[in-house]
Every structure is written in structure tokens, then in C-alpha cells.
């Protein structure tokens, strides 16, 4: 009986320690997307060049949809070269689309002038309704959509070469 009550100590410490330790290992900004395995949400927007761009344009080849903003510094600057690299490497295999998150076209164009314009369509989302349809929390966030228009993966935060390659594999784009 006397020894049994010592069990109280680990009984208190271990569950609390476990929960907090699990919490420590996770990224608080990372939330699993309910969109994975579902068709890409439909939308119709206009690119910065004034052309129409809709969800239907995504179908037919694997697509990478990148939500970004000129004010999202340094994350969006950090990942920009990764996107440029993909645009150069898979000009025809992959459709790359940038969607502006709570940004003005002017600021976005300035960003592209400064950090390089890879030529992929940049789409304005003035009301933020498309970001909401995709369940975007905070830019940058990137969706990987396969040729059938099904969302296969979502990446939070700045893309790296490794995360880009891993996610591209999921939509059938290999090295």
C-alpha cells in the first residue's frame, strides 16, 4: 500500500509529459487538409495579365497551385527559387499557378520584378473566396493536383526542393 502510492508520481507526470512532448514535435501551423482525395474546388478568376483562369484549366496535366503574397516575407521569397526551378524543369509536364492571398496586383508584380517572373499564370483572388474554398490558413501554402483534377497533397509554409520533389511524385511527376 505504501509503495503503491508512489505510482501517483508517474501517473501524473507521464501523461502530461507525453501530451506536451507530442505537442512539441508538431508544427502548430500544420493542419491536415480535408481536400486531399477530392476534386479541386471550382473557381473562376482573372490572371494579372487580364486573362480568365478557371478550375477547368487545371485538368489534363498535373498542377501545382501556390497561394502566396508579396508581404509574406521571408517564406514566399525563400520558396520562390524552388518554384522557378520547377517552372524551368517541367515547362510542359506541370502546370504551375500562383494565386494571390490578400495582396494587390501591383505589389505582386513588384515582387515578381524583384525576385523573378517564371512566366506561370499569377491569378488575383480579390475577395479571398478562392483561398477560403481551398482552406488556406496563411501563405505560402501549396496544393498538388493530379491530371484528373484531384487534390493529392498540400504543403504548408515555404517549399523546399525536397518537399517539392516528394509532393510532385504524388501527382505523377518524377525526376
Amino acid at each position: 500500500m505504501r509503495a503503491a502510492r508512489w505510482l501517483l508520481v508517474p501517473l501524473l507526470a507521464i501523461p502530461l509529459g507525453w501530451v506536451l512532448f507530442m505537442g512539441l514535435g508538431r508544427d502548430p501551423s500544420e493542419v491536415p487538409s480535408p481536400l486531399i482525395g477530392k476534386p479541386v474546388p471550382s473557381f473562376a478568376l482573372t490572371t494579372l495579365d487580364g486573362e480568365s483562369f478557371t478550375a477547368d484549366d487545371l485538368i489534363g496535366r498535373p498542377a501545382v497551385i501556390n497561394f502566396w503574397a508579396s508581404w509574406c516575407i521571408p517564406a514566399c521569397v525563400d520558396e520562390h527559387p524552388v518554384l522557378m526551378d520547377i517552372a524551368a524543369r517541367y515547362p510542359d509536364e506541370v502546370l504551375l499557378v500562383g494565386i494571390l492571398y490578400d495582396d494587390t496586383p501591383q505589389d505582386a508584380l513588384d515582387f515578381l520584378v524583384r525576385y523573378g517572373d517564371g512566366g506561370w499564370p499569377q491569378v488575383d483572388d480579390p475577395s479571398g473566396s478562392v483561398a477560403l474554398a481551398f482552406g488556406v490558413f496563411f501563405p505560402p501554402e501549396t496544393f498538388f493536383v493530379d491530371a484528373d483534377g484531384i487534390v493529392r497533397a498540400k504543403h504548408y509554409g515555404p517549399l523546399t526542393k525536397a518537399s517539392m520533389a516528394r509532393n510532385l511524385a504524388l501527382i505523377g511527376v518524377g525526376p
Binding site: 508512489w6 507526470a13 501530451v19 507530442m22 505537442g23 508538431r26
Partner: protein
């Protein structure tokens, strides 16, 4: 150079506090007075060293010394001196530095005050406090070094976090909160000492009670000031969002409040010792847990400092405190076992026990709500949120029952109550409560929560007032002085009791204000071009013009102000603004508030069109909000009155000897 001095002070501080701990433990075991003195003085030295480190940081901040990474990240050449100074605690590493200063200062104060008293307890308490200080010094030596240098030195720094440089309250509420948090290490250390030495007697209890009440006052003031800051700065018209960092402050406050009440029962006999020890330990663990939660990035929060390996250190600290506390309690359970009889069911003792049940139940609920997203994710991988709607709903019944007890407890006699006493003391207050609720309904209050709060506050308030009046009448009769003078005489002769009553009255005022402002707030959003007007209830606002210009105090900050004329019960010109900080993603709103006794008129600028000068304004009418701050001030005053040393100190001796000792 500066960085080396600061870093050196920290490293030496680590060594000195480890020495203080070792010397104190040896002194406690051997009874060697010289060693005890050495340990104590080492704690003073640790305090001096952390003061030097803080001083170095302040000098670096005021001098914009960007060779120190912390300064480069949290300061800019244009930052005004006041905000440079308070940047000491506005980011992660600096806040730990400041925290260490306050902790060692509290420790030194305790050890100096009792340098020739409590010879059995103090060395162990010194050892406990020195170990806690050593932990913080170690955090600053390794993962959270505030004095990391950077080369090459940039000509300009990032500037302070925009949200934290927007209001002078930032200079007030973190220090108050930290004084509360760090001070709560003292009752823990005293309790560890009492557990180790098996001196869980009246001497220990009196010490612990006093040294809990002092940090409790700061914690209370810090929480109220934090709510006020949130109201004045964040611009959403509210003051309490159940944000993890707010919960982190509330949790130890709840358990410390429970302790303050249970200690009064424990002092009257040998019962409740185990419970008291558990409350003190839990309170300290919760202060560390709060630190962990807000500094590890585990839970998103407005205030969360950036993620770093400090999280793992704090986790280890939380667990160490928990294991040490729990193990000591388990070890000494035989000594803690109560010998007294349980109190009568209808008595002040029982009311206090019920109070403890409610405070700890609420603390558990808040802790659960704060950690539930972590637990759910650990168990199922699902991401969940627990926000204000849940917390409001769950805490409301606890608060209602506590409001009721706030009047019942003080009015119930110690020992046991008879029907006659109950009738004398509660029939009239109950009628007053009913009348309050009825008057509220007539005055147009609607909804269960505010009317119930008003009724309960009327009941409890009148029960408290009745107690004071009863005592004052008795004294006026026996001494022949006037009633007011008699009331003052009664109060100063039993500061602890009447200070407590005053604190309870403050709580009642704040509770009514919270309930009424939450249910009676009205708001509207208006888009106005210059010259246009909009109205909300009896107020009409007219947008005059939009002004965009750099701030005089810090030209890197660009302010866009709407000049808005307000007509109505309160009138004047308000200048709600949005400030663009160079290091901030979003513009920071600077809301403006017009306060009167009855209501606040609160105006926030949400958006503007620089071309047309049109603005989007959010208008709030928040009734009674000012009474929340006033009620909070009364709580602090009451508690301060209770511990103020009086002519006749009743704090150390209960009014009457326990029935069975």
C-alpha cells in the same frame, strides 16, 4: 563588449545559483549557520548578476546596439526610448532574462526578510529557489541566450513586434504578470522546505499564505491590466479571448485563489494539510506550464514567442517540478494526514471547501480546454480548436456558483450555523438579490446570464455589506463613536477579513460588468466617404477626413487616421488609426475609446481607400466596461488592505483558537 558582460553575468549567475543551492542544502542538513549565510548571500549575488545582465540589455536596447542579435531583432534606431526599454520583456530571450531578475529579487527579499527567522525552513527554501533560478540561468546559457552576437553589424534593426509597441500598457502588464508568476515560486519553495523538514505547522502555513497573497495581488493586477491592454490595442471590442497565454495566467490564479481560501480553513485545525500542499505545488507547476505553453510554440497564440529548443527545456522544467512536488507530497503523506474532525456541513469551512471544489474544477476545465487540441491530436491526429464559445459556456456555471459563494462564505459562521443564523444573515440579502434582478429586467437587461449575475451579485454584495454594518454597529455601540469611524475601526482591526470582503465586492462589481458588457454590447460596421454619417443606437458618427502621415515618435511607422466626429450621449472627435510597421505583415489597428460611467463608445478603423478617403469603421457600444477595470482595482486594493501590516496584526493569529487543536 556589452554582450560579453551580459553573457558573463548569466554564466556566473548559473554557477552562483548552483553554489547557493548546494550550500543551502548542506547548511540545512548540517545546521551550519555559516553555510546557510553563504547560500543566502549567493542568492543575493545571483540577483545582482541578473540585474547586471538586464541592465546591459537595457543599455544595448536604448543605445540600439545591433551587434546583439536580440537588439537587432527587436529594436530599430527609430524606436522611442520607452519602447526600447520595454523590449526587454517583449520577446523570448529578454523575457526570460527579466523573469530571472524578478525571481531572484523575490528570493532575495524573502531570504533577507527572514535572515534571522525560521532557521529550519529558510535554507531549504533558499535551495529550492536557487535551483529554480539555476534552471532559468541554464536556459539563458544554452538554448535561450539573450546575448548572442551577430556580425557584421547591421546599420538598422528589425524593430519591436508591432503589436507590442503600440500601447504604453505593454510597459505595465507583463511586469505585473511576471511579478505574480515568479513570486509564486516562493510558496512552492517554502512548502518544499516544510515537506523535507516535516514542519507542516502553523508557522509554515502563515508564511505560505502571506507569500502567496503578495504575488497573487500582482497576478490579479497583471491579468486585469492584460485584459485592458487587449481591449485598448487589439481592436476587436473585447478584452478576454481565452487565448492560451491568457489561460496560462488564469490557471495559477485560480489555484492560488483556491489556496488563499483553503489556507484559512487549514489554519483553524490540522485538517486540509495535504490539500493545501497540493494546491501550492499545482500553482507553481501551472506557472511553469504556462511559460512552457507560451514559449514553446506548442499552442498558437497572439503572444506566442517563436519556436525554439527552449520548449524542450521548459518541458523538462515542468516535469521536474511536477515530479519533485508530487514525490515530496507522497513521501510525507503520513505526516500530512489530518487529525481534526470534518467541519459541520453548513458552516464557513464547508463553504470554503465548496469554493475550492469550484476553483479547482474550473482550473481543470480551463487546463483541459487549453490542452485538449494537443491531446486530441496526439490520440487521433485530428486538428481541433477550443475557443471562446466553449470556454464561456463551460466556465459560466462555475462563475455563477462562485458569485453565490462570495457572499455566502463570509456570512456563514465558523463552526456551525443554526436556522436562526441562516435566516438572519440570508433572507434579507436574498430579497435584495431578487430586487436587483427585477430592477435589471425593468431597466431593460435581457437574457439569463446578466440577470442571474446581477441577482447573485446583489445577494452576495448585500450579505457582505450586512456583515460590515453589523460589526460596525456593534463597535459603535460599545465604543460610542460614529458608525463610519466604527466601520473603519472594525476594518483596521481585522484587516484580513475586511480586506477580503472588499476584494469580494470588487469581484462582484467586475462580474456584473463582464456579464452586462458581454450581453449588452452592440456593434456595426460602416463604410463612409468623407462627410458621410452612420449611426448606432443613440450615437452618430461622421467621417471628416483621412490623414496619412508618419508617426512623429517613430518615422518608420506610417499612420493612417480617420478623423471621426461622434455625436450622442458622449461627443467628441475620435482618431482611430491603422499603423503600418515596417516589420509587420498587417497594419495594426489603433482603436479609440470614449469611456463614461455607463458605457464605452469604441471605434476601430478596419480599412480605408487612400484615393477616395473612404473608411470602413467598426463601431461598438460596450456597456459598463470601465467597471471591470475598477472592480479589478478594488480586488487589488482589498487584498493589499488585507496584508497591510496594521497596528494589531491579526494575520498571524486566527481570531479565536480552533475548537479542537
Amino acid at each position: 563588449m556589452l554582450a560579453n558582460i551580459g553573457h558573463g553575468a548569466v554564466v556566473i549567475g548559473l554557477g552562483v545559483s548552483l553554489f547557493a543551492a548546494a550550500a543551502s542544502v548542506l547548511a540545512a542538513r548540517s545546521g551550519d549557520i555559516g553555510l546557510a549565510t553563504a547560500g543566502r548571500r549567493a542568492v543575493y549575488v545571483a540577483c545582482g548578476l541578473s540585474a547586471i545582465a538586464c541592465g546591459v540589455m537595457v543599455i544595448a536596447l536604448l543605445g540600439h546596439d545591433f551587434s546583439i542579435l536580440y537588439v537587432a531583432r527587436n529594436n530599430a534606431t527609430t524606436t522611442p526610448p520607452f519602447y526600447s526599454f520595454i523590449s526587454l520583456w517583449a520577446a523570448l530571450e529578454g523575457s526570460i532574462l527579466f523573469w530571472t531578475l524578478l525571481l531572484t529579487a523575490w528570493s532575495s527579499l524573502l531570504l533577507y526578510r527572514y535572515r534571522s527567522a525560521h532557521p529550519a525552513l529558510m535554507p531549504w527554501a533558499a535551495a529550492g529557489l536557487a535551483l529554480v533560478a539555476a534552471f532559468f540561468f541554464a536556459v539563458m546559457t544554452w538554448p535561450g541566450d539573450p546575448f548572442v552576437s551577430v556580425t557584421p553589424v547591421a546599420a538598422e534593426g528589425n524593430g519591436p513586434n508591432a503589436l507590442l509597441q503600440n500601447h504604453p500598457f505593454m510597459g505595465l502588464h507583463p511586469p505585473l504578470l511576471y511579478l505574480g508568476y515568479t513570486g509564486l515560486a516562493i510558496p512552492f519553495a517554502l512548502t518544499v522546505a516544510a515537506l523535507v523538514t516535516r514542519r507542516l505547522d502553523g508557522e509554515w502555513l502563515t508564511l505560505v499564505r502571506r507569500w502567496t497573497l503578495v504575488p497573487w495581488i500582482f497576478l490579479t493586477a497583471g491579468i486585469v491590466a492584460g485584459a485592458w491592454w487587449s481591449y485598448e490595442v487589439l481592436g476587436w471590442g473585447g478584452y478576454w479571448a481565452w487565448d492560451p497565454v491568457e489561460n496560462a495566467a488564469l490557471l495559477p490564479w485560480l489555484t492560488a485563489t483556491a489556496f488563499i481560501h483553503s489556507a484559512m480553513v487549514a489554519e483553524r485545525g490540522r485538517s486540509l494539510r495535504t490539500w493545501t500542499v497540493i494546491l501550492v505545488t499545482t500553482t507553481f507547476v501551472l506557472t511553469l506550464l504556462g511559460t512552457f505553453l507560451t514559449r514553446s510554440g506548442v499552442i498558437e497564440s497572439v503572444h506566442s514567442f517563436t519556436q525554439s529548443s527552449i520548449g524542450a527545456w521548459f518541458l523538462a522544467g515542468v516535469l521536474a517540478a511536477l515530479v519533485v512536488g508530487a514525490a515530496l507530497v507522497v513521501w510525507r503523506l503520513p505526516d500530512l494526514a489530518g487529525t481534526g474532525s470534518p467541519p459541520a456541513l453548513v458552516s464557513r469551512e464547508s463553504a470554503f471547501l465548496l469554493n475550492n471544489l469550484l476553483f479547482t474544477g474550473l482550473a481543470f476545465a480551463v487546463l483541459f480546454g487549453t490542452l485538449y487540441p494537443l491531446v486530441a491530436e496526439a490520440l487521433s491526429g485530428e486538428r481541433l480548436s477550443v475557443g471562446a464559445p466553449w470556454f464561456n459556456r463551460v466556465s459560466a456555471p462555475f462563475f455563477a456558483a462562485l458569485l453565490f459563494l462570495a457572499g455566502v462564505g463570509p456570512a456563514l459562521p465558523w463552526g456551525a450555523a443554526s436556522w436562526g443564523t441562516l435566516r438572519d444573515r440570508f433572507v434579507a440579502p436574498a430579497l435584495v438579490g431578487l430586487a436587483f434582478a427585477a430592477l435589471g429586467a425593468i431597466a431593460g437587461l435581457r437574457g439569463a446570464a446578466p440577470l442571474l449575475t446581477l441577482g447573485l451579485a446583489g445577494f452576495s454584495g448585500s450579505a457582505l455589506v450586512r456583515e460590515v454594518v453589523r460589526a460596525a454597529r456593534g463597535r459603535a455601540r460599545s465604543t460610542g463613536v460614529g458608525q463610519l469611524q466604527a466601520a473603519w475601526g472594525v476594518a483596521t482591526r481585522n484587516r484580513r477579513r475586511y480586506g477580503g470582503y472588499l476584494a469580494h465586492l470588487g469581484v462582484l462589481v467586475a462580474a456584473v460588468a463582464v456579464a452586462v458588457s458581454a450581453s449588452g454590447s452592440v456593434q456595426a460596421t460602416a463604410v463612409l466617404t468623407p462627410g458621410q454619417s452612420a449611426s448606432l443606437a443613440e450615437y452618430t458618427v461622421t467621417h471628416r477626413q483621412l490623414v496619412r502621415e508618419p508617426l512623429a515618435a517613430d518615422p518608420r511607422v506610417f499612420e493612417t487616421r480617420a478623423q471621426v466626429d461622434v455625436e450622442g450621449p458622449q461627443r467628441g472627435t475620435l482618431l482611430p488609426a491603422l499603423r503600418d510597421y515596417p516589420n509587420s505583415v498587417a497594419a495594426i489597428a489603433t482603436p479609440t475609446v470614449m469611456t463614461s460611467v455607463g458605457e464605452d463608445f469604441y471605434l476601430t478603423l478596419l480599412a480605408y481607400d487612400p484615393v477616395s478617403g473612404a473608411v470602413t469603421l467598426r463601431l461598438f457600444i460596450n456597456p459598463l466596461v470601465v467597471w471591470i477595470w475598477l472592480g479589478g482595482a478594488v480586488v487589488v486594493l482589498g487584498a493589499a488592505f488585507a496584508i497591510w501590516p496594521g497596528r494589531r496584526t491579526t494575520a498571524t493569529a486566527p481570531p479565536a483558537a480552533p475548537a479542537k487543536a
